[in-house]
């Protein structure tokens, strides 16, 4: 077993690795990250994850629900550290996986991957506590400076293969099988399909009917085993009932931009992100800061952020940005969502939140987003036109189908919702996390 594999093993048990090894891994990670673009290109299928915040045991739960790396291709949208009690183990595990399987895991930077923020929100103190010096914190911060600012997922399928329902089960909106493709599937707690929506279904996914209490199978464990074994994303659109039929609304499932926070008034194209000099501490303002700090909000245009950094941006901004850049969706993290995920602005943007019971206090569930792959060499027919769908012509394809029309056309998406790991599971260290309250 290599040193790297043994480090992964040790970290999987939530045990810190020696300082010298941290240094070595951070050095190797930096060599990999320095080659990455500001906006990394990632091929579907991919599983997109939001904030982790040092909740190590919940990260393990995420891998259990979403599949292990490298079996599943992962994209983490930042905020690995701070708040939770195991920022160090969580970040180093992800970093080791990055070094070990660079093409199977993508890490982009969150606003907490910063020297200033980690000194306020816990990661700095945790490093001092665990190593007695700030060296490890410094190594990690040096890595933060090289993390990509965003990622562009290409080749995502327009539908997900519906998870088969077990006998006697019924999702809230069951897809009329063989008639329609599944655009959105939600797998709730216990691995139970709670919702399937076809592209034809009017309206958009509404987080209010997805609250844990509204999930019909909240407490039942359900036939989780059977349902969880499906390899995420594979053959998402292989069932081609819809494809090839000119009457079915065809969708390219074009590019999905992933970024931690959101948009910036200084950035009107993905190419402008590519021009930034990212290898620095997160600045207090400017485009790089905005990408990591901004939030979507029900406003017109831009607004001031109550966070003191970044901006608020409305539906018009998102729709225009997506249109100009041939994006079908923006996936971002950064904001706690009690239901784990929340689509906004006619499904043009989604918040994915992956820290269940955030800060051991908030009582929320978490989610990950799976985007399936399209048949990379499948011939799409629409009105007699034949287009080869692959990585190179994503752009052309997107403009062909999206051009001018603003119809909703997000990729097929499967959300897997999960809860916090049981506190005493997996030999968790005896120290119980104790969140603050006002007393």
């Amino acid at each position: 077993m290599s040193d790297l594999d043994s480090a992964v093993e040790q970290l999987r048990q939530c045990r810190p690795i020696p300082e010298s090894q941290v240094r070595e891994i951070c050095f190797k990670a930096r060599e990999i990250l320095i080659e990455e673009a500001n906006v990394q290109i990632v091929d579907a299928p991919v599983t997109i994850c939001g904030d982790i915040h040092g909740q190590f045991h919940d990260l393990m739960e995420l891998f259990r629900v979403g599949g292990d790396c490298p079996d599943t291709n992962y994209l983490f949208m930042g905020d690995f550290v701070d708040r939770g009690f195991y920022s160090l183990e969580s970040f180093l595990l992800l970093l080791c996986l990055k070094v070990r399987y660079p093409d199977r895991i993508t890490l982009i930077r969150g606003n907490h991957e910063s020297r200033q923020i980690t000194t306020v929100y816990g990661f700095y103190d945790e490093c001092i506590r665990k190593y007695g010096s700030a060296n490890v914190w410094r190594y990690c911060c040096d890595v933060f400076d090289y993390l990509a600012l965003g990622a562009l997922v290409i080749g995502a399928g327009s539908s997900v293969q519906p998870t088969r329902l077990a006998d006697g089960e019924d999702a809230e909106t069951k897809v009329r099988e063989a008639e329609d493709e599944v655009e959105i599937e939600v797998i709730g707690l216990g691995g139970v399909v709670t919702r399937q929506m076809s592209r034809r279904d009017a309206g958009m996914i509404n987080s209010t009917n997805l609250t844990p209490s509204a999930l019909p199978h909240l407490s039942s464990s359900g036939p989780a085993g059977a349902l969880l074994t499906g390899v995420p994303g594979t053959g998402a659109s292989g069932n081609s009932r819809g494809i090839g039929n000119a009457n079915t609304p065809t969708n390219t499932g074009g590019a999905v931009l992933c970024v931690h926070g959101g948009l910036s008034p200084l950035i009107d194209s993905v190419d402008k992100i590519r021009l930034l000099d990212r290898k620095q501490e997160v600045p207090h303002d400017g485009a790089m800061c905005d990408l990591l700090w901004s939030d979507p909000e029900e406003i017109d245009g831009w607004g001031l952020s109550p966070r003191g950094a970044g901006f608020l941006f409305g539906a018009d901004i998102v729709k225009q940005f997506n249109h100009l850049n041939n994006l079908t969706l923006i996936a971002r993290a950064h904001q706690l969502v009690m239901e784990g995920f929340k689509e906004m602005f006619d499904s043009s943007i989604v918040t994915v939140w992956s820290a269940p019971n955030y800060c051991y206090r908030c009582g929320n569930v978490a989610a990950i987003l799976e985007l399936g792959e399209d048949n990379s060499n499948a011939v799409l027919r629409s009105g007699g036109e034949e287009v080869l769908f692959n990585r190179e012509n994503t752009r052309r394809l997107a403009s062909t189908y999206m051009g001018g029309s603003m119809k909703r056309g997000g990729p097929g998406r499967r959300y897997r919702v999960f809860e916090a790991a049981a506190q005493d599971s997996r030999g968790m260290p005896s120290k119980k996390p104790m969140p603050y309250y006002f007393l």
Binding site: V120, Y121, R307, R361, C362, G363
Partner: protein, 370 residues
Amino acid sequence: MAIPTRFATPSMAAPPSGAEKDRTVQQTDMDALVSRCSAVQTGYLTDPYAEMFLDISTPRDRRYPLINRGTYIRTTALDQIVESFLSRPFQGKKQIISLGAGSDTRFFRLAADKSLRLLYHEFDFPQVTSRKIAAIQRHKELATIISEYGQADSPEDSTGLPGFQVDARAGSLRSPCYYIHPIDLRTLKPGVPLPTGIDASLPTLFISECCLIYLSPNDADDIFRWITSSFGQASESSPNGAGIVLYEPIGGDDSFGKVMIRNLSQRGIVLRTLQRYSTLERQKERMRALGFNSGMGACDVNFIHDEWIDAEEKERIDKLELLDEREEWVLLAKHYCIAWGWVERHPASASASAGSLSFQNWSRFPIQRT
């Protein structure tokens, strides 16, 4: 006053004894004090006295920004309520009684204004009052404030410093204007006589900052009844009345609330009246039903943050720290409330006017619609 024997368990059995439970509740005061010092150090609050009550051994943790902000809002909201009671319209002498005062510094902050005519009392467990008195004896600045404030009101006492008497063994302190009473709040019931120095003829404000919530619902209700039966009776000669302001958690029914109850119970802290008074509506009804029926109100801390703090001040606190906890802040702040109620009657005499009432301005606070 000793812990009542009915709370003690004779065996060494696993469940915590009454005394242990009481100690856990008493420790919440240290927790609040450390939070207070953190908010002072970060610039949210100005309070030179808070840190004097901190034991040397207590770690001076810096709290997260949302906890600092919560400490700030709680203090500021109570300050506004107290200020409104003290200032207008009635200008005469007034009385404040702080229930479970712990290491609260409000008296020392108010006493900076020597023109204020105020009688101030604090009730708490003797273990807590002893610690507070020791801090007062350790810090000359605190002792001086008590002495000088006492002289202002009773110049005839000015000959003998320190101007206050301490019974260290019992944990009591008395001066002309400031009393610390070692009292177990569970003993306060209708018919129980007033502790020494309390003047039931003065307009009186009671404060409970995260205190009554730890009592059984019946004990907590009895304190309300004790207050409204002993104070707030109108007389011919003097305007008076009684009011109470509470700061405490609400809303244990949702997932955040359930996690809060579970987390605190792991520390041995039980929010005993939470279920009975879990909403703003129930808090107001509590005031009405237990005798504070001239007027009442309740707001959650999130509302107070949004509506009670003026724009300039909000801008100031927004600049102190980056608050990367917006959603969490709203969630947390909606689970704490300030509730207040008062009872006062127009004096029968014709010469008295509405201008003689002490609590009238409380009806001017922005009210949250529920």
